[in-house]
Amino acid sequence: MSARPARTTDAGSTRTRRITHRPAARRVIRREALFGDLMIGLALVFVTVFTFAPILASLGLSFFSWDVISSPKFVAAANYERFFSDGPVLRSFSVTIAMALAIVVLQLFFGLVLAVLVNQRTTTFGKTLFRTVFYLPLLASTAAVSIFMGYLFDRTFGAINYYLGLLGLADVPWLTSPFGAQVTIVLIVVWQQVGFTFVLFVAALTSVPSDVLEAAAIDGAGPLRTLLSIKLPLISPTVLFAAVIAMINALQLFDQPYIMTKGGPGTATTTATIAMYQAGFQNLQFGYASAIAIVLLVLILAVTGLQFVASRKLVFYQ
C-alpha cells in the first residue's frame, strides 16, 4: 500500500523529465495535462468556492464587525478579545469539551466490548445479525432520534421513567435539570454512534492475523491475555482513528441539544456550535460568530494534531 503512491508519482515525473526535449512527446504531455485539468475542474471549482474560500473568508470576517445589513467594520482582534471574556460562550466550549470527552470514552468502550464479544462468536449468522442490530440506530436521522428520545426520556410520561419507577427509581429529571440534560444527550449520542466504532473495531479485529493468535494459544495465553497483549495492541491504530473521528464529531454537537433542549435548561446544553449559531443567525453578529467558528476550527485541528503525535508515540504498527 505505501509503495504504490510513491511509484505512481515517480513514474509521472521521471517520464516528464526524460522526454520533454522531443516536440511530439511534449504535445503528448500537454494533452495529458489538459485532460487532468478538465477532470479536476468541476471538483476544484466547487471545493474552492464552497469550502476553501469560505475558510479564508471566515478567518477574514472574524476581524470585522458585521450585521449583514450595513457594511462590515474592521475591528482588529476585538472579536477574539470578546470571546475570551465572554462567560457564556466560554462555558459553551467547556460544556462541549466535557460532553465530547464523555461521548468518546463511552463510545470507544462500548464499541470495543461489543466488537470483542461479536468477534468471538463462531457463526457468520450471529456476527451479521449483531452487526445489523448495532448499525440500525445510525439509519435514523439525528432529528428523528432527538424526537423519539425526547418522548422516551420525558420526565412525566416517558417510558424510561415508567420502567425506572417500577424499580423504585422515581422521577429522574433527565432533560429538565442541567446535569441531567447533559448526561441524557451524551447517552443519546452514544446510543446512536456506538455502531460506528463497533463496525470499525470488528473490521480491525477480523484482520488480526490468525498465525499470531495461534502462536499465542500455543504459548498458553488465555482469551483475556490474548485480548490485552495481542489484539488490542494490533488494533490500536483503529482505536486512535475512531477516537479522533468521534471527538471531531462530538465537538460539533448541535442537532440533539438544539432540538431536545434548545441549549437548556438555562445554558446547560448550549454547545459551542449552538453558541455560534445564536451569535450569527439569531443576533446577526457575523463577525463574532466567525471568530467563534475559527476557535472551533483551531480546537479540531489541535485534536487532529494530537492524533499525529499520539500515533507516533502510543500506537503500535505491525
Binding site: 503512491p5 508519482t9 515525473s13 517520464r15 495529458e32 495535462a33 489538459l34 487532468g36 477532470m39 479536476i40 468541476l42 471538483a43 466547487f46 471545493v47 474552492t48 468556492v49 464552497f50 469550502t51 469560505p54 475558510i55 473568508a57 470576517l61 466490548v113 461479536v118 468471538q120 449483531f130 445489523t132 448499525y135 439509519l139 435514523a140 436521522s141 439525528t142 432529528a143 428523528a144 424526537i147 423519539f148 428520545m149 425526547g150 418522548y151 410520561f157 417510558a159 415508567y162 446510543w191 456506538v194 470499525l200 473490521a203 488465555g222 482513528f241 475512531a242 471531531i248 465537538l251 448541535f254 442537532d255 432540538i259 450569527g280 467558528a293 472551533l296 476550527l297 479540531i300 487532529t304
Partner: protein, 283 residues
C-alpha cells in the same frame, strides 16, 4: 499437566461465553428498544400513545396516524424535497469525485500535488466554520430558501475525491497503458477501463452521501425558511413543535416514514454502508 489446565479452563470459558452472549443480547435490546417503541407507538391511537406501559406488540394496529401526518403537515412535500436534494447531491458528487479522484491518482498534470494539498487541508474543517460565507454566497446568488442552496455547495467534496483517489491508486496502470497503445483516448481509458472497475467505491461514496444528506439538519435549518421547502428532518422537528405533546403517535408516524428509504437501502446495500464506515480509516 495438560489435563489439569484444560479441566481448569473449560468451565471458565463456558461461563465467559454465556456472560458474553447475555451482554450482547442486552445491548441489542438497548439498540433496538427505542426504534421498536417508535414503530409500535406510531400504531397506537393518539389518545393512548403516551400511556404506560408502552405497547411493544401492536395488538390492534391503528394506521390512522399515517394518514393524519399527511393531512397535518405537507410530509409528502418534505419527502419529495428530501429526495430531490439527496439524489442531486449523490449524482453530482459521483461525477465530480470520480473524475477528480481519477485525475489525482492516474494523470500527471502540473500543480497536481499542490491542488491535492488544498483538498486535504479542507477535509478536517467543520461545517460551522464555513457556514457564514456559504450563507452569504447563497444570498448573493439569490438562492435563499431554495432547495438548490443545499445542493450546489455540496456538489464537490474533498473527502469524496480522496476516497475515489485511494481506490484508483490500487488499480494496475498497465491496463490503461495497454489501452492507450491500442489507440484509446485519455477519456476512453478512464471511462471504458477504470470507471467500470470503480463501481464498488462509487457505491460506497453514494451510500455515504445518501446517509449524510438524507439526515441533514444543520444546513436546512439555516438555508430554508418556508415550510413548503423543508426537508424531512426539519419538517419533522417543526411538526413536533406544532403539535406539542398531544399526538406523539402522529409525529412518530412521520419519523418512521422518514426512515423507510434508509432501511430499504440498508437491506439491499448493507455491504456498502459497512464499507462506508471503514472507508474513512485510511491506513
Amino acid at each position: 499437566m495438560t489435563t489439569t489446565v484444560i479441566s481448569r479452563r473449560r468451565p471458565v470459558l463456558k461461563v465467559g461465553k454465556i456472560i458474553g452472549l447475555v451482554v450482547l443480547l442486552l445491548a441489542a435490546v438497548v439498540a433496538l428498544g427505542p426504534l421498536l417503541w417508535s414503530l409500535t407507538t406510531s400504531l397506537r391511537t393518539p389518545a393512548e400513545a403516551f400511556n404506560n406501559p408502552p405497547q411493544w406488540f401492536p395488538v390492534r394496529a391503528d394506521f390512522s396516524n399515517y394518514a393524519a401526518v399527511f393531512q397535518q403537515i405537507p410530509i409528502g412535500q418534505f419527502f419529495v424535497n428530501s429526495v430531490i436534494v439527496t439524489v442531486l447531491i449523490v449524482a453530482g458528487q459521483t461525477v465530480t469525485c470520480t473524475l477528480s479522484g481519477y485525475a489525482f491518482a492516474m494523470v500527471s498534470f502540473p500543480g497536481r500535488n499542490a491542488i491535492f494539498g488544498i483538498f486535504l487541508a479542507t477535509m478536517m474543517v467543520p461545517l460551522q466554520t464555513i457556514i457564514i460565507p456559504v450563507f452569504v454566497i447563497i444570498k448573493t446568488l439569490g438562492l435563499s430558501d431554495n432547495l438548490l442552496s443545499l445542493v450546489i455547495p455540496a456538489l464537490g467534496s474533498a473527502f469524496g475525491t480522496f476516497l475515489m483517489r485511494q481506490y484508483f491508486m490500487q488499480m494496475p496502470r498497465e491496463l490503461g497503458e495497454a489501452a492507450r497503445i491500442d489507440g484509446a483516448s485519455h477519456f476512453g481509458v478512464f471511462f471504458q477501463v477504470y470507471a467500470r472497475m470503480a463501481a464498488p467505491a462509487i457505491s460506497t461514496l453514494a451510500i455515504l452521501n445518501f446517509s449524510g444528506f438524507w439526515a441533514e439538519f444543520y444546513r436546512p435549518l439555516i438555508f430554508l425558511q418556508s415550510q413548503s421547502n423543508f426537508t424531512l428532518p426539519l419538517g419533522l422537528v417543526g411538526l413536533q413543535g406544532n403539535l406539542g405533546t398531544g399526538s406523539i403517535s402522529v409525529v412518530l408516524a412521520g419519523v418512521i416514514i422518514a426512515m423507510i428509504p434508509s432501511v430499504l437501502l440498508f437491506i439491499v446495500a448493507q455491504r456498502y454502508f459497512i464499507e462506508g464506515v471503514t472507508a474513512g480509516s485510511f491506513r
